[in-house]
Amino acid sequence: MASRILVASILVFSLLETCYGGVQFSTLKRTLLINASPKPGELLKAGDMVTVTWGLNQSLPAGIDDEYKNLKVKLCYAPISQKDRAWRKTVNNLSKDKTCQFTIVTRPYKASKENQSFKWAIERDVPTATYFVRAYAYNSAGEEVAFGQTTDSKKTTYLFDIQAITGRHPSLDIASVCFSAFSVVSLFGFFFMEKRKAKISQKN
């Protein structure tokens, strides 16, 4: 009965879910120039600051950025960190693409000759991996229309590493040991106590 209600509600929710055919990455033009502060091969930790600087490629004809309304700068996985990890796969259809899973900054697009920059502290839920930075420009419909990235098209240059926090905590470790000890001690304590009681009652 419960599973039937569940299926019915899933059916309803999925009908409510609208499905847009996603934009293909191969159709995007690389018009943005973006730079990130980590040097190639540098190892960063959670909490370190990363400065990203971006701007339109000035050597391109004017007016190319007329439809850009929003800009998102994202942290993306390099191919080596995608290997054997299908949940980070690069797919041409951007609505299914899992390459860039962390947003550094979202800004409305400002057409100007000067570059803009943002200082970002690496968050504590960023996993240990090799990364590059990519920026997407969106039109007013919210679709990607252009991009720029810190690495080359094969994603082999200017990659940097981030070392995640372990998630471990000394207080957790101590609590863990204490409860484990309690479990073992109370088990054996009970066992020997009962054995002693049985011996005493047998003597009587």
Partner: protein
């Protein structure tokens, strides 16, 4: 000379076919009630309950039932607790697909060994201490998740937590000491089904706990570690409850049994020999690997599958995954019920067809699950797959009691181990390599289920037939007495050790289906009054 009444494997329940298999009580003329005993439930001469009152907590029988199934449920929760949290864990520990697959295999492999040892532990220390020892000594392994910082550590800890699944043995053993043999079928089946539900419940519980802990303020990579404390505390709490509220036997604890002295037991080597030389044992070991085994494998991969394939939130993926395991509540007993219904009309042949149909349908729905591209179809396919696989588990144990009378315990144990082995194998073949996606893995697993269910067509009982062949025409070979008597040597028969088997043989004539009335009297059957 009868074996110990109510010892594991001695259940005669459902054997006549005239009793409703899922009987809730045993009528008094069949088993006399001991009126001198002061228990909440009517009991037999050994003070085992004759009635199964589900919503009672009366000491000792129903209290034992609840302590037992909840302990088993807790162990299922902790063994599969990592599965719905894998999307977080894989980022924290930098896991690859191979690491995740290996951990899944490790989580089900440990109990192959620990279930075999648990039988001996229950014999030595009693089921109460067997259960308590296992559940409290595996609590530290669950707490250990807070220390894990690499793929190797993760695999090792999941392996150690998996040992706790041996509570299945202590659970079934403990019920056998508390409940009369004629209702033990329902009691054990309910306990096993409800315990298995833990694999589904954990998919709901763990993401919920993770979410609450994150809202309190922990970062993701710490929150999942804290979430593991809850199943670990459950281990400790259940262990303490089992020790303080439980007792080994209706009349008290194990020391009483030791005072009564021992009844002569069968020789282990003989019992093992007759189990492993019967080819039907191995067919069902294989089959159970593809009903229970695929259920365990799916418990390990399904939440991650829905999370990745359909971009769901962790809790949503968990809810969907939970419906898979929770279906055990009704699906497993349903399979047993269908088996009994089929046997009423068609006898053992009906039971065999029933298992084949249920398990093959499960395989077909598994293929469909892998290929489904939309969420609603995927969920529907998963639910149908769960019903097929879990009903097949119940149906399998409707046939196992008839394979052998002498070696029922070992055959049940081997079948159970086959389930875990099948789970490890399917995870190794289909969910560890990066060569294909999880959805392809599911479809391939479905194909393997269909293929590995075919051997049930080979199972032939001379007295009852098989799926495609009628029973043997030979008057001697086509008697139940001949089949069950062939497990004893002439010497043993002369000593009268096979009396229990003969009684069983006579009661199993119901497996002829509607032909029972026309069955010829076998020439060499021992008369009931010697």
């Amino acid at each position: 000379m009868a074996d110990i009444e109510g010892s594991p494997g001695s259940s005669m329940h459902g054997v006549t076919g005239r009793e409703q298999t899922f009987a809730f009580s045993v009528a008094s003329p069949i088993v006399p009630t001991d009126t001198t005993a002061k228990f909440d439930l009517p009991v037999d001469s050994e003070h085992k309950a004759k009635v199964f009152k589900l919503f009672s907590f009366a000491n000792p029988h129903m209290r034992t039932f609840h302590l037992s199934w909840i302990s088993f449920f807790t162990c299922f929760v902790s063994t599969f607790a990592a599965a719905p949290l894998v999307p977080i864990i894989r980022d924290n520990l930098n896991l690859k697909k191979g690491d995740i697959g290996n951990a899944g295999i490790a989580s089900v492999s440990g109990s192959i060994f620990s279930r075999l040892v648990m039988g001996a532990v229950c014999d030595l220390l009693g089921p109460r201490y067997g259960c308590a020892f296992l559940i409290m000594l595996s609590a530290p392994t669950v707490f250990c998740m807070s220390f894990v910082s690499s793929a190797g550590g993760y695999v090792a800890v999941r392996f150690m937590i998996g040992f706790s699944l041996a509570t299945f043995v202590s659970c079934q053993y403990w019920m056998s000491t508390m409940f009369n043999g004629k209702i033990i079928g329902l009691v054990n089946g309910t306990a096993a089904g409800w315990g298995n539900m833990g694999g589904g419940a954990t998919q709901l519980i763990m993401p919920l706990l993770y979410d609450i802990i994150r809202r309190i303020g922990a970062t993701p990579f710490t929150a999942w570690r804290i979430a593991f404390f809850i199943p670990a505390w459950l281990h400790v709490i259940m262990g303490i409850l089992v020790l303080t509220l439980g007792q080994d036997l209706p009349d008290g604890n194990l020391s009483t049994l030791q005072k009564k002295g021992h009844v002569a037991k069968d020789k282990f080597s003989k019992v093992l020999w007759y189990a492993i030389t019967n080819y039907r044992t191995w067919v069902f070991v294989l089959l159970y690997g593809y009903s229970m085994g695929v259920e365990l494998s799916t418990d390990n991969v399904i939440a991650e599958y829905f999370f990745d394939r359909f971009d769901l939130k962790l809790q949503t993926a968990g809810i969907i995954a939970a419906t898979f395991g929770m279906a055990n509540f009704v699906a497993r007993p349903f399979g047993g019920y269908l088996s009994d219904k089929a046997a009423q009309r068609f006898g053992m042949r009906g039971r065999l067809w029933n298992v084949w149909i249920l398990q093959t349908l499960g395989g077909v729905f598994c293929i469909w699950l892998g290929r489904a591209n939309s969420l609603p179809i995927s969920v529907l396919a998963m639910i149908l797959f769960s019903i097929g696989a879990q009903a097949a588990c119940g149906a399998t144990f409707g046939i196992i009691p008839f394979i052998s009378r002498r070696s029922l315990g070992i055959i049940s144990g081997l079948t159970g181990a086959g389930g875990n082995f099948g789970s490890g194998l399917t995870q190794l073949l289909f969910f560890t390599s990066s060569r294909y996606s999880t959805s392809t893995g599911l479809s391939l697993m479905g194909i393997m289920i269909v293929a590995c269910t075919l051997p049930v067509t080979l199972v032939h009982f001379p007295q009852w037939g098989s799926m495609f062949l009628p029973p043997s025409k030979d008057v001697v070979k086509s008697s139940e007495e001949h089949y069950y008597g062939s497990e004893w040597t002439e010497e043993e028969k002369q000593k009268g050790l096979h009396q229990g088997s003969l009684k069983f043989a006579e009661n199993s004539r119901s497996e002829r289906g509607r032909r029972v009335a026309s069955a010829p009297t076998p020439p060499n059957s021992t008369p009931t009054h010697v």
